[in-house]
Symmetry: none
Subunit: 361 residues, 2 copies
Amino acid sequence: MKADMPLNRILRGECVEVMKTLPDASVNCVFADPPYNLQLRGELRRPDESVVDGVDDDWDKFTGYEAYDEFTRAWLGEARRLLHKDGTIWVIGSYHNIFRLGAIMQDLGFWILNDIIWRKSNPMPNFRGRRFTNAHETLIWAARGPESKYRFNYQAMKALNEDLQMRSDWYLPLCTGNERLKNDHGLKLHPTQKPESLLHRTLLAATVEDDVVLDPFCGTGTTPAVAKKLGRRYLAIERHPDYIKAAEARLERVEVLPADQLEITPAKREMPRIPFGSFVENGSLPAGTVVYDRQKRLKARVSPDGTLVSGQHRGSIHKLGALLTNAASCNGWTFWYFERDGQFLSIDTLRQETHLLRRTA
Amino acid sequence: MKADMPLNRILRGECVEVMKTLPDASVNCVFADPPYNLQLRGELRRPDESVVDGVDDDWDKFTGYEAYDEFTRAWLGEARRLLHKDGTIWVIGSYHNIFRLGAIMQDLGFWILNDIIWRKSNPMPNFRGRRFTNAHETLIWAARGPESKYRFNYQAMKALNEDLQMRSDWYLPLCTGNERLKNDHGLKLHPTQKPESLLHRTLLAATVEDDVVLDPFCGTGTTPAVAKKLGRRYLAIERHPDYIKAAEARLERVEVLPADQLEITPAKREMPRIPFGSFVENGSLPAGTVVYDRQKRLKARVSPDGTLVSGQHRGSIHKLGALLTNAASCNGWTFWYFERDGQFLSIDTLRQETHLLRRTA
DNA sequence: CTGCGTGATGAATCTTGTC
DNA sequence: CGACAAGATTCATCACGCA
């Protein structure tokens, strides 16, 4: 990250103006919960701070969308500039604004990875019985562009979901009870405070320790609070001094998880790479050993250089597995088995044993 | 309805051209499943090496967002002209196209009433582990305009949902098995046939008997089939003669339900399932907490992704319990304990306490 | 007739590192 | 930049065949 980047701070001001002062490609992840006053009840401001004159006829509704789109393009454009080329962005909204947000994100070059449904366990009912209970909000998760090598902690998400792939629909409660910040009168301080559980999942999925997370619409600071807890760095922007004050007090109370307690289920790709040949060299699978596929229908012999030989064929554990099964590709580690002490073990066992040894060393 | 309206027929042709021949304000409801503009780059294989049969049909090829938007504005514009002033429209899509659809609908003057999430009970997994399982599609339900006195059968929807207000997230299976139309080779006739249960709910919610339902992208005729079954009239448009032929044969087999027997299919309920990770996310058992077996002979620490760590070992509550006791399996919920307010409690206590248990469907 | 094992399949923007 | 090699990756459901 750039030397002149303010970090672990909440900056006061209009988000577009403040973002303009920050350097390119300086954040790894953005979480944004933008306003969606499309109904023209409250005032809608253009990026230049002028107030949109909202009246209730069709023409001005159109003006309302236009102004909202202009504002959206401005802040999303800056967010994209600030995002590292392999970074991702989360944007949350409801049917009032999410379609405009998504279309503009695509127009600006973001590459949508998923749309995520936050299913609320305790939504407000529809009191008049004129529509379906509005029981969800939508998040868009997107990479900076189609070529981004984005971060996705697949195994950690799978672990969070009882060892099944995490789906695009998330069932989480609203922010209520003690988690909900209150003002002096005991009323909710912020109208749309998000639950920490939602941020926990998004940040755990898409960032690693020490990553920089930007929240352009900080509010009462849920994003910085969870970022801090999870050992990520943050940068947040907020207009209202009352919210900043509350968020800063909240951040004081957050305890950072120690580094050794932050570890999550690692991706296999992240493990140190071990060449198959090293097991031949160190004698744990000597040259000459016979290896089999799981059903023992195929067999091959280990060569001193770590290749396998079967009949006239020779190749790496992957190549030979693919060749003999007529497959396009093959993960040799999980394809081939050997016998040890009467047990029939995958050769990946050797790799796992080595990883465990290294962790304790 | 106008006297010159063709009814209960499938018209052959390009949807925009055909719609232009129909009179203003002549339909009560539109259901549209337009091309999604998927941009598939190459072949995708399952982990078992089998090839996924993706959507590569010509009708889903567009040169870019602009071409797709132009097409979308054209058919949505005609659909709005054909819609009665109190009529509503349903449009279904995925993250590839739904944001563009929604934004254009708003621009054209439609008034969004709900966005509805079709949660698939059996979605295709993400085979490469690079994203969340894409487990839902989105429907937009909109009135012709903000002043429309639209139809919403609130009590029928409530009855469908065990006397609770119908929510905006619907849990329904894909169209598979015998319901899925097959060609002469026993393969799926249409790549994206929708389940009748989905149409059943949409038409039951937003129309009354004898209403006219228009489907501009008829495909194999799910909309007309359900419309006929429910005693609604229909009009459908389709380009491909093969699909029309199949749809007409299908319609022959559909029996109209007698008015007094409009079947109420109960909503499909899901088994409540609470991943251990939920309690880590929502803070009731924060990452870093130490858990013990009943005799306090073993201990482990909770990770941010809901796994437990003990020494070199990491795994789910079940796996780690089994591993440390050398057992084949273990019910982690009753095996592990934690301390709270001086009490020593099983982690299953959390499951029993939570309101998550009460309503997950 | 039931139950169990096997195989097939679904609107999918589905890899990464080294030479 | 391209070519090549290593290697990571799946869940629910249904039809069908066989015991």
